[in-house]
């Protein structure tokens, strides 16, 4: 499921830019569950920079092994099937980065996250990004971008959405958007209406209303 995490690493050794945006939203010394934690770079970063008590779920054995070998508490599993095992309000934050669009039931996953965590942090590639629109409109082909880098026949992304779509779902399901950061292809932050045009991806901090 983490094949979707393919953005170019920036500073801080090898931590991805979008993970830094997530890390920004997290209060120090909180309890956090990273769903689809990959090789554990976010968990490790948060543990060292913000003394966060982190746990992870990762589907690939190689990812789990990498995490456990780094001293992180990570179990092998996935967002669709393993979240129901966790009790209510067990964490301050539940994170799902660039993975929501690859789950079988994103809406259910979102609600599970908000049940387990007092807050949820979700990031996803914005399907209304202008390059995506342009490729479909002008090229007539399924779009491929830095955030959507697999061809249609190989992609894990089965539930793509736009920033507008996600805002609507939150409004309909009583989910409060505490903070939203959209960034363009160069990592520049965007606000307001242009976000849905020029945002390559978005990060949301959510809680239940």
């Amino acid at each position: 499921m983490n094949e979707t995490r393919a953005l170019v690493p920036t500073r801080h050794q090898d931590i991805r830019r979008d993970l830094l945006l997530i890390a920004e939203m997290v209060t120090p010394q909180s309890r956090l569950l990273d769903v689809g934690c990959g090789d554990g770079s976010l968990l490790e970063y948060l543990a060292s920079e913000k003394q966060v008590d982190g746990r992870g779920i990762e589907i690939r054995q190689s990812g789990v092994n990498a995490c456990v070998a780094r001293g992180l508490s990570v179990i092998q599993g996935d967002a669709d099937s393993d979240l129901p095992d966790y009790p209510d309000a067990a964490f301050d934050y539940v994170v799902l980065s660039l993975t929501l669009q690859a789950t079988r039931n994103p809406r259910k996953v979102l609600h599970e996250m908000l049940r387990i965590g007092r807050r949820a942090i979700v990031s996803f590639p914005n399907f209304a990004y202008w390059r995506v629109r342009a490729q479909l409109l002008l090229g007539g082909r399924m779009p491929m971008t830095a955030a959507l880098d697999d061809p249609w026949y190989e992609t894990q992304n089965i539930h793509l959405c736009t920033i507008k779509d996600f805002d609507q779902l939150c409004a309909r399901d009583g989910i409060a958007v505490e903070q939203r950061i959209a960034v363009d292809g160069h990592g520049k932050r965007l606000g307001g209406a242009p976000a849905n045009w020029f945002g390559a991806q978005a990060v949301y901090l959510l809680h239940r209303r």
């Binding site: 746990r55 054995q61 789990v64 092994n65 995490c67 456990v68 070998a69 780094r70 001293g71 992180l72 508490s73 990570v74 179990i75 092998q76 599993g77 095992d85 966790y86 009790p87 067990a90």
Partner: protein
């Protein structure tokens, strides 16, 4: 800091390892309702206990294992059963940790069990030995640690029945276990596993040399029955893929099938060897007692049927390991433990190791398992303040 700790007892070596008499003043209260005491526990240690006694690792052995985990076995002359995992420079580094392994209560290599002499009759206990449980084994180990002056284990580790003991340790003595590594096990023994055990026990009962457990009186042992029990069990430790890879349908010392009942296939010869070598090193009554102890194991049953309740509030760090081809303790059962630990908001890691070697994989050379556990142990050691590679 060591001044505040009780004095260390001297270790009286008896061959490789030691034997201690416990429960002289306070008996061991068994689950069956009886008191046991005094009783003996045979054990081995490796490495050195550090000054604040924080580097002890308890290794719990499986059904037919023993305390000779990392030294040459005095009975078989073979290397210890977990030299892949334990020794100088290994994952459980004996240059770094003080490793303890004791023969379980009910065992047959020096700890009190049906083979030992009943002081009341001056004869081997046989079936007069009280029926024991995994919890009884663990309580006996806890008394051994008291005797050794060790308040908290850095780690308890074990596979199969050893994993059950690790879980019981974490449940009964959470403050005494800093890290727990239950491998290829379950929080309860399944119906299928009880069924396999019953096949083994029936084979022993059916052997006329068993004499209702009093075979030593008759100067014999139930070889055939115990061998069949071992053969049946051994199949469950492997996998179809491993058996096929090793033997396929290869014939034993012949070019073509002979339409008879001699040993025709290589796999038959292998199993016969497993059975006959086992009876040389294991006691049939011990086999009955220990399989029974496993059958009774149901950790959730100790907490009103809810496994998560067993681990409520635990500070122990867990690493659960399962194997893809293990059908005796399949991943689903290992994951039940993980699920309960998550529900208790415990600190848990879980990996499923891909292998075709079946249940026995935990004893074998599994580099991915070693790498994972090395990371887990290093991480825990750091949190426990044990310097990497520090020698006491």
């Amino acid at each position: 800091m060591s001044a505040a700790l009780p004095p260390l007892h001297s270790l009286d070596p008896i061959g490789p390892g030691h034997r201690v008499t416990l429960g002289e003043t306070l008996p061991l209260k068994l689950d069956c309702g009886l008191d046991l005491g005094p009783y003996q526990i045979a054990y081995t240690t490796y490495g050195k206990l550090n000054a604040d006694r924080s580097n002890a690792v308890l290794v719990c052995h499986a059904l037919t294992g023993d305390q000779h985990v990392a030294n040459v076995n005095p009975i078989t002359g073979k290397p210890g059963w977990w030299t892949t995992m334990i020794g100088p420079g290994k994952v459980i580094d004996t240059d770094r940790f003080f490793v303890i392994c004791s023969n379980v209560l009910g065992g047959c290599l020096g700890s009190s069990g049906p083979k030992e002499i009943n002081p009341a009759t001056a004869k081997p206990y046989g079936l007069q030995f009280p029926v024991i449980t995994i919890r009884d084994m663990v309580n006996a180990q806890a008394m051994l640690l008291d005797h050794l002056g060790i308040q908290q284990l850095f780690c308890a580790i074990g596979g199969s029945m050893g994993g059950m003991q690790v879980l019981q340790w974490a449940a009964s003595y959470p403050e005494r276990v800093f890290a727990a590594i239950p491998i290829a096990c379950a929080a309860k023994h399944s119906a299928q596993n009880i069924a396999f055990h019953e096949v083994g026990r029936q084979a022993i009962y059916a052997d006329p040399q068993w004499h209702k457990g009093d075979y030593f009186e008759q100067n014999t042992i139930p070889r055939a029955g115990l061998a069949v029990a071992r053969m049946a069990a051994h199949i469950t430790y492997l996998s179809e893929a491993a058996l096929h890879r090793k033997f396929g349908r290869n014939l034993q010392n012949r070019e073509r099938i002979t339409y008879g009942f001699e040993t025709e296939f290589q796999v038959e010869s292998y199993l016969l060897h497993q059975g006959s070598s086992f009876v040389e090193r294991f006691d049939a009554n011990s086999y009955l007692y220990i399989t029974r102890a496993m059958d009774y194991f149901d950790l959730a049953g100790q907490a009103g049927g809810v496994l998560a309740n067993v681990f409520q509030g635990t500070k122990t760090k867990f690493c659960v390991v399962s194997f893809t081809s293990d059908w005796l303790f399949p991943t689903t059962e290992n994951k039940e433990i993980v699920r309960a630990l998550n529900a208790a908001a415990a600190n848990v890691s879980f990996v499923e190791i891909e292998t075709d070697k079946g249940h026995d994989a935990f004893l074998l050379d599994e580099p991915v398992m070693f790498a994972t556990l090395q990371g887990f142990i290093d991480g825990c050691a750091e949190q426990r303040g044990l310097a990497k590679g520090a020698r006491s």
